[in-house]
Symmetry: C2
Subunit: 501 residues, 2 copies
């Protein structure tokens, strides 16, 4: 049998310690904020029936567009592809499974406030920084009609970003309301403006506007009309609006800026006598009041008509949490993170299962983007958990080394014994490579004398820079000290305190 080639499936990746140690701390911080608002954890499976997931992804007019799906292995041969039990798929978000859960369990509390962290999968074209498997960290309130819940959602996004170390002027939560956009389209005379129907002209307009960041206004305008050809030659069909209708949408997109109440005043004019549109603006006004009561001013939460969100299940307020501070990476390049949070209200998502209206709203954090941003706030990310390496000078003494490590560990210091192969030089190189700061060295001389050598590896590197010869090195043994065995733990604690200062 030929040897398999070790490789990742396209669009998938492995992650290592420097990223993950930070990710864990970050996730804990986010969790604490969600919990401080009373959200409780929930978990759902990776696999769902395709009919339960629904068709809500942007660009997925085909039944299984954008998802990883396959034949349900339990389905009998006689179950045809058209049968709802035939296909299962990896979930593409955590909102569709939440709706399924709410429909399935009749005795959940109302409101049902849950958070969920989980992997989701999308069958998209992968690219730099664009993967098919990523982590979302959602919180949602189900059974809440009042837009006070939408306002609260925005506050939680602010609190989370600030708990992660971003200042109030590093980010912005940009809010819109799909009802406002629907109103604008109605007034413009777009016949089929139903944004909740993925096949409507209104939904096509929404998908076009969602590309504003990437394509700029001219690209969006082309997509609002006839369509446009991208660089690869692929032609994307347009929404087919009339020029006068496009002009109204352009006015909507470009003509609104300023404080929340100023934006509301302008929007109220743009929606004219559309009832849905006016309702949308009223909701924004109400959110404005509630946000203000919590101290969330225009500097942190703004109203922005260009925010529409790609997923087609939203029915009211929608928003994104974006970083506005210019963050430069180690090469001095300005990094773009896109939206770190996205969310909104989706009042019809449970109804598709049960026929009963269950209003709901919430937000989703893109954990991977969030991590990329948080990484740049971190000056010295840790790569190791061990802080001490107990080296092995004499293989026969391994039980002694294990015992010494056990004593160090009992004092609360993470420590490992070098159990690989190689001489002391190789062992210290290992410590260096993985980022362990201190080494304990004991050979037969030390055991006889009842002492151990302790070496400060970082300091050793510094001092070594000034040393000319091997002889000089051996004489000086920089940053190394002999310590009586019974003082070992105390010495290590002292050195680590000094390092952490």
């Amino acid at each position: 049998m030929p040897r398999p080639k070790p490789r990742n499936v396209r669009g998938f990746r492995d992650r290592f310690a420097a990223d993950l140690l930070l990710k864990q701390r970050m996730v804990e911080t986010v969790r604490r904020v969600y919990e401080s608002y009373g959200f409780v954890p929930m978990d759902t499976p990776a696999l769902e029936f395709v009919d339960g997931l629904g068709k809500f992804l942007p660009e997925s007019a085909t039944p299984e567009g954008g998802i990883f799906y396959f034949r349900n292995p339990d389905a009998e041969e006689s179950v045809p592809p058209s049968h709802p039990d035939h296909w299962v798929a990896l979930r593409y978000d955590l909102t569709a499974p939440l709706a399924r859960v709410v429909a399935q369990y009749q005795d959940l509390p109302r409101p049902f406030r849950r958070y969920q962290i989980g992997t989701v999968w999308r069958l998209e074209r992968p690219g730099p920084g664009r993967f098919r498997e990523f982590t979302q960290f959602d919180f949602d309130s189900v059974g809440v009609k009042s837009v006070a819940a939408d306002a609260e959602t925005c506050s939680i996004v602010c609190d989370t970003l600030e708990a992660l170390g971003f200042a109030a002027d590093d980010y912005l939560v940009k809010v819109n309301n799909r009802k406002v956009m629907q109103g604008v389209l109605e007034v413009a005379g777009v016949g089929d403006a139903d944004l909740g129907n993925i096949d409507s002209q209104g939904a096509a307009v929404l998908r076009a506007i969602d590309k504003l960041d990437r394509l700029g206004l001219p690209g969006v305008v082309a997509l609002l009309g006839e369509g446009r050809k991208d660089r690869s030659g692929h032609f994307a069909e347009g929404a087919g609006l009339e020029p006068s209708q496009i002009e109204r949408v352009e006015r909507y997109l470009g003509g609104t800026a300023g404080t929340r109440d100023a934006v509301c005043a302008e929007l109220m004019e743009l929606v004219g006598d559309s009832e849905t549109g006016r309702e949308g603006v009223e909701e924004l006004l109400s959110m404005h009041e509630q946000l203000g009561a919590g101290g969330y001013g225009d500097d942190r939460v703004s109203f922005d008509p260009t925010i529409v969100r790609g997923l087609s299940y939203y029915t009211g307020p929608v928003f994104e949490g974006v970083l506005t501070r210019e963050i430069t990476d180690e090469d001095g390049k300005v990094r773009e993170f896109g939206s770190i949070f996205g969310g909104g209200r989706y009042d019809d998502l449970v109804e598709r299962f049960t026929g009963q209206k269950v209003p709901a709203t919430g937000a989703s954090a893109g954990v991977d983007r969030m991590l990329e941003a948080v990484k740049l706030l971190e000056a010295n990310p840790r790569r190791s958990t061990s802080r001490v390496l107990v080296t092995v000078m004499d293989k026969k003494r391994v039980p002694d080394y294990l015992r010494i490590a056990g004593e160090i560990r009992a004092s609360g210091i993470a420590v490992e014994v070098f159990l690989g192969s190689g001489n002391i030089g190789k062992q210290l190189k290992y410590a260096d490579k993985v980022g362990i700061e201190l080494a304990v060295i004991a050979g037969s001389d030390e055991f006889k004398a009842g002492e151990v050598q302790v070496k400060d590896l970082a300091l050793g590197r510094e001092l070594a820079a000034g040393i000319e010869s091997n002889e000089e090195w051996r004489a000086a043994r920089p940053a190394q000290q002999a310590v009586p065995t019974e003082k070992l733990v105390e010495t290590l604690q002292g050195l680590l305190r000094a390092i952490d200062r």
Copy 2:
């Protein structure tokens, strides 16, 4: 379009707060132990190429037996099913992906000590408490030949179970060595004893012994010989051993008990002059010494020849961590948890990719079984994160309620405002249902007086038991007090301290 039925894929389940809040704490505890030994996190994708995963599951003689696999959506039409790029699958454990990673990244440190928590999937027949999706929490040392690493692995299992609240006599780590079993088979004259080859007679013996817990000795003996029919009428083929060979295996399984050195002495006799067998016993003796140096005695780590493990990639020491204390559930029934930890040495798993030997050993925790056990140690599992509910007496005052909640939250108390619909009675019932302990109540009277009502819900239920009429209730308002607004946080803190005592 017909409404989809909300349902789970067979063998999959949803999880809720009471379980998950405990699971989070448990996982944190486990992680801290792993980190105290210097293991660092790693993450791999849910999807792997089938050829990279290999065929190591017990009972999976067929190429994709036991796994969820499907066509790689990137594979061109021209890629035949026999091509390695054709099939992708959900991972069935975290060890096979680790081997793939070690083969794929040449610059990983050696030893490479990583932990990984992740979901794995197995296409098995689901049953009570038996799911197709579960969580494993592994730690492994790659690039370590010495069985000191296997001894350390067993110590870590002990430390973990004790950190979770189990006492030293609540559990046992049972250790064996596959080389010993191979030696016994060689001495018994089993021609094809290669345990690493899933199609060998030796591997069939191993799979039979692995069923000892479930089938008892007579069932295993049948499987060692001709085979046996199970209750459903399904016939499982046997390993086809001769009666004299079966007798030797029976002696091996039944005749060894006692302290670790006593077991080693008996095993040394049973393996006779088999070189592999003697090597296996020597390794056990070496582990015995190293375990002793760390203080891990016979009461916590025993040697047990019946432990073989089902996965076919193990090459040396194998072990299981099992709970031995009889734990009874709330119905007084004794609960069986099976092994909570399993693991061993798998020196050939990287070699199948690279041709180079990379010794490795480690352990896997079954997080779901672990949780079931830990749950029974927990007297009062929390279901909520909020400890205070700010009720809404007057919808127009929502901004005020949000502000009050913000002040409570700023003091470090998790709190939520009731944003659903319903009168005060329904709101207090909600608090009861989700497990919130205190309620804050403020209507126009209270706002006018600059005060709020604080209600201790648990105490209220207790006191209410002694109250006869609605009038008496309204007069007494048990466990409820009026507090000046500026004393609210202080009052809540005091009440929560009392509850937590």
